[in-house]
């Protein structure tokens, strides 16, 4: 059976050019970048070239890039690093209700450590309430962390607006750009951020590598102590092959972003229109335009997401859902709850995240499969029967 992958916000296949770039660094050029001999210098050179590449892409200086094990570590380092280092200035942090768990759980942990966190609400499209955010700033606020684009509903936040009052008040601003990198412009000066998290495996690079941008002069507490790697900010022998792969993925994304985004946006809108026109009681979740070019999130009334996902999987289609039934905690997605969806509405939500290699014919196939599956499940649903207007 042909398989169709439309879960690119979960992870992406590694580009073959990225694999080619990485391979020599497992065997021939395997050196430790801290070693002084030629093997080590080869690795050190690759490391610094990669740093330059990643820095260029986001408008940063190479010395402002710390390589990490991915988005989760970058978020942890940014938030805990700023919090611990600036706790004498204040212990108040502001974030949003729809952040990735890498941010939310880190904040919850800091609350146990005596920090105070304000979780600013979002509107029904998932856009943060900037007025409420501004009002929640206190004299002891040290950090604002708001994601650039949401991983579930694709909503893009007004980071540069937030940056204005963060700067005025001398508060550090962090953004999680894991989902936006490679899909929309990510530039640290245009966004006006002091810290920015990115991850390789979401942009056709290898898993387990990412970076944190730290604007020069931003005081940060080290979390991993050891050798003097990454300018003493993150100890541990560098994952050279992974970092080289990440840098190659960044370079490829930079080359292709205009064409890829246009292609994905076209497919996104085609899929949304097809589904909306052929299935009743289906609703787009998230902002209609301020959304990632590859994100489709639609909810279908009267049916449940995991059962849709299983039927789609049987047809070779890979997507994800925000339904409570599919989560380990049996709670609906916190993002869907934060935008005001009732649990029964979150139940029927599907996230379809496109990639640069998806094809128009795949969109047609998925749209058709959805019509069939939604119809089948609604015929089985005790609540659908009470609603006559079903197609």
């Amino acid at each position: 059976m042909k398989r169709i992958y439309m879960d690119h916000s979960a992870t992406t296949p590694v580009d073959s050019l990225v694999v080619d770039a990485m391979l020599p660094y497992f065997t021939d050029k395997f050196g430790n970048a801290s070693s002084l001999h030629s093997f080590g210098q080869e690795a050190a050179q690759a490391l610094e070239q990669s740093r330059q590449q990643v820095a260029n892409s986001i408008g940063a200086k190479p010395e402002e890039i710390i390589f990490t094990s991915g988005g989760t570590e970058s978020d942890n380092l940014a938030i805990k690093g700023v919090a611990y280092r600036n706790s004498r200035k204040g212990k108040h942090i502001i974030t949003s209700t729809i952040e990735h768990p890498a941010v939310l759980s880190t904040c919850a942990y800091l609350e146990k450590e005596g920090f105070e966190v304000t979780y600013v609400a979002v509107d029904s499209d998932g856009i943060i309430d900037t007025e409420e955010l501004e009002k929640s700033i206190r004299d002891d606020t040290i950090l604002i962390s708001v994601m650039h684009a949401n991983n579930e509903i694709g909503t893009i936040q007004p980071i540069s607006d937030i940056s204005k009052f963060a700067k005025e008040r001398g508060i550090y601003l962090h953004t999680d750009a894991v989902q936006s990198l490679g899909k929309i412009a990510v530039n640290v000066d245009e966004l006006g951020v002091d810290l920015l998290s990115i991850s390789s495996h979401k942009i056709h690079g290898p898993k387990g590598v990412g970076a944190l941008y730290v604007r020069k002069g931003t005081p940060l507490q080290t979390l991993a102590h050891g050798g003097g790697h990454e300018r003493h900010m993150r100890a541990g022998t560098e994952n050279i092959s992974g970092i080289v792969g990440f840098a190659k993925a960044v370079a490829l994304a930079d080359e292709r972003i205009v064409d890829d985004a246009k292609h994905m946006r076209h497919l996104r809108d085609l899929l949304i229109n097809k589904v909306m026109n052929s299935i009743d009681n289906a609703y787009l979740v998230g902002h209609p335009t301020k959304r990632l070019p590859n994100n489709v999130n639609i909810r279908f009334s009267f049916i449940e997401g995991e059962s849709m996902l299983l039927f789609l999987d049987m047809k070779g289609i890979a997507i994800s859902t925000g339904s409570a039934c599919s989560s380990k905690s049996l709670e609906p997605s916190h993002v869907l709850t934060a935008i005001g969806l009732k649990p029964e509405d979150s139940h029927g939500s599907l996230r379809i995240t496109l990639g640069k290699d998806n094809l128009q014919e795949e969109i047609d196939y998925v749209a058709k499969a959805l019509v069939e599956i939604v119809g089948h499940l609604r015929a089985m649903s005790p609540i659908a029967g009470k609603n006559p207007s079903l197609r």
Binding site: I303, E304, C325, L330, P343, M380, P382
Partner: protein
């Protein structure tokens, strides 16, 4: 995630639908995740001659609904009341731990339908 038997009942559920002139209807909701299940029964001489279901829920909820209709049909009311949550999961060859609560829904639904039947019988008397 699910075994073959569960997937079989999920993808080809037995006895889906409503019974127009049901003798008892059980409508239960799942407090854990918010799903719903309706079970319809037809009773003749104390025996469940037909059982149908409608379910709004996950793969396990649909599979356990389907399975309980198969187990229940042909049983006496007394036997049907003894079907436990575990029986359904066992018949299906096991469910992931986080999904055990879905089999509760199926057993509760059947028992609620029988209770509804008994209440209606008492009113008739």
């Amino acid at each position: 995630m699910y075994n073959e038997k569960v997937m079989d009942h999920f993808s080809n559920p037995r006895n889906v639908g409503e019974i127009e002139d049901a003798d008892g209807i059980g409508e239960v909701g799942n407090p854990t995740c918010g799903d719903m299940m309706n079970i319809y029964i037809k009773v003749k001489d104390g025996i469940l001659t037909d059982v149908k279901f409608k379910t709004f829920g996950c793969g396990a909820a649909i599979a356990t609904s389907s399975m309980i209709t198969e187990i229940a049909i042909g049983k006496t009311i007394e036997e049907a009341l003894e079907i436990t949550r575990n029986d359904v999961a066992e018949e299906l060859g096991g469910l992931p731990q986080v999904k055990m609560h879905c089999s509760n829904l199926a057993a509760d639904g059947l028992h609620a339908a029988i209770e509804d039947y008994r209440n209606k019988q008492n009113i008739k008397k």
